[in-house]
């Protein structure tokens, strides 16, 4: 197992390539943000702006990068006679490292984005922790905020990773199981999202939709029952548990799945 973990973390097919992919992807979204910034400035906007979906893009993309990296690792492992057991155990051990790395990169990208926007007079709101960027700007020495932000990103990264695993499992084994697994992932994270602070982006989105659309006005705002609100730390722990539960499902699917690659000859 040490071989495989070593391979996953050291090799250019593993972590290093993942980092390169993440950087590429984040720069890509960075360009998109830049274009948005230019558009907003031309528009003459100033003050608070909500870009909730864009804020999460880094996390979704980290899931995609992870799926790509993990897929390569699995294939290479199988080609070199590594047992499924070892691959699964190795990935489980390596995943948190990948998650932490991508969380750090995403958080860094987000902070940079927030700062750049701030320089132009626009304050970004996103992910529910509405005043974070405010705190960030005014109290940058406050490490707690940074950890807070990091944990939040880590949490969603695990979500993206779990989805990535389900995608790989589906791709390898059968489309039906993949779809079931993906739906399951979404469902599990939906449950968690119910517990996010009421200004969480999902509800933010829904609320804005409610405000904007005629018939929805009568339904009213979506607010999670107060008793279900957890702190970010608790949420992170729950996420980790959820992640490993889904990983367990992934392992069960992959344990006996034929991994052959596409026939060319």
């Amino acid at each position: 197992m040490k071989d495989f973990i070593g391979y996953a973390l050291k090799n250019h097919a593993g972590l290093i390539r993942f980092i390169k992919m993440m950087c590429g992807v984040l720069c890509g979204t960075g360009v998109f943000y830049l274009i948005t910034l230019i558009a907003l400035k031309i528009d003459g906007t100033i003050g608070w702006i909500d870009l909730p979906l864009m804020e999460l893009s880094g996390i979704v993309l980290s899931g995609v990068c992870f799926a790509t990296a993990a897929d390569s690792l699995i294939r290479m492992g199988v080609s070199c006679g590594v047992s499924r057991k070892t691959i699964l155990k190795g990935l489980a051990a390596a995943a948190p490292v990948y998650a932490a790395v991508s969380a750090a990169l995403t958080e860094l990208a987000e902070e940079v984005t927030v700062i750049i926007f701030r320089l132009f007079g626009i304050r970004l709101r996103g992910l529910g922790y509405v005043t974070v960027d405010d705190l960030l700007w005014n109290a940058t020495e406050n490490w707690r905020t940074k950890v807070f932000g990091f944990c939040a990103v880590l949490m969603f990264t695990f979500g993206a990773f779990a989805a990535a695993f389900m995608y790989i499992a589906g791709k390898t084994h059968s489309r039906k199981r993949g779809v079931t697994a993906a739906v399951l992932t979404v469902f599990v994270y939906w449950i968690f999202s119910v517990n996010i602070d009421c200004k969480g982006w999902l509800y933010d989105l829904l609320n804005r939709a409610a405000e904007a659309t005629e018939p929805w006005k009568y339904i009213g705002r979506f607010d999670p029952p107060p008793s279900l609100i957890f702190s970010q730390t608790e949420l992170l722990t729950l996420t980790l548990i959820g992640f490993y539960l889904l990983y367990g499902l992934f392992a069960v699917i992959m344990r006996n799945a034929p991994i052959r690659g596409r026939e060319t000859g």
Binding site: S72, C80, G81, S83, R84, P258, G265
Partner: protein, 284 residues
Amino acid sequence: MSIELKTLTKSYNKKLALDRVSLTIEKGTICGLLGRNGAGKTTLVNLVGNRDFPTFGEVLLDGVNVRENDKALRKIYCMGADDLIPTNMKIKEVISSMGYFYKSSDAKYAEKLCGEFKLEMGKKLSQLSTGYRTIAKVIFAMSSGADYIFLDEPTLGLDANHRELLYRLILERFEETEAAFVISTHLIDECAGLFERCFILREGTLIADEDSETLRSSAFVVDGKTEAVLLYTSGMEVISRSELGTLSSACVKGKPGNVPAGLEISKPSLQQLLIAMTADEQRG
């Protein structure tokens, strides 16, 4: 020191890809794994390499089941026609990756082989032609340092010069390392000299497991007028028959007895014998 397949069976959707195949591969031999497309050769190699799992039966290396067994699997390398190795990887990356898993993998030897074939190590697999991709995969297999190397169609897309080079390199490596080579190929006449032993699969069943020379001399071909051939071969085990107008040719198991005038006897090449043994219509 050997790999033993014990009643290895694999079924997909109620169809038997491999049916109770039992055979032994000794270390230090070069064997041919022959059969038509879809006969089960690739399935067999996949089962040995832990890429897929048997429905029934087992693959044993020195008595130990290789299924999910890292230690045993590291002594085996399976090269296939598929794209299992990520095609966006560069050749030198794959070779260094292999070093993590195959402790005796020989990167220098891989470099030497790349030089012989004029293969640039900085290229990605996806950038190579079919022939060169095969060459790359064979190089990975041969430099792995594994004790048992399975090459599934190592000649796919290779020009004649490269094939000659490949055979020479296999023999060279074979003498150096005493590894076992199991080669599936459709270019049987070219490779016949390499094989010490041949395994023939037909629709998932093992129909021959013998040393090459015995196999070759196990049958003869009789040509002549159809009635004469039928008369002569009555009571004999005819492997396959073909007709050309009023003439017939039959491939028969065993040795020719007293041959009446008007009939010609000849010995089939390994390829001809294989074609006869794996022909679609079998009349006995």
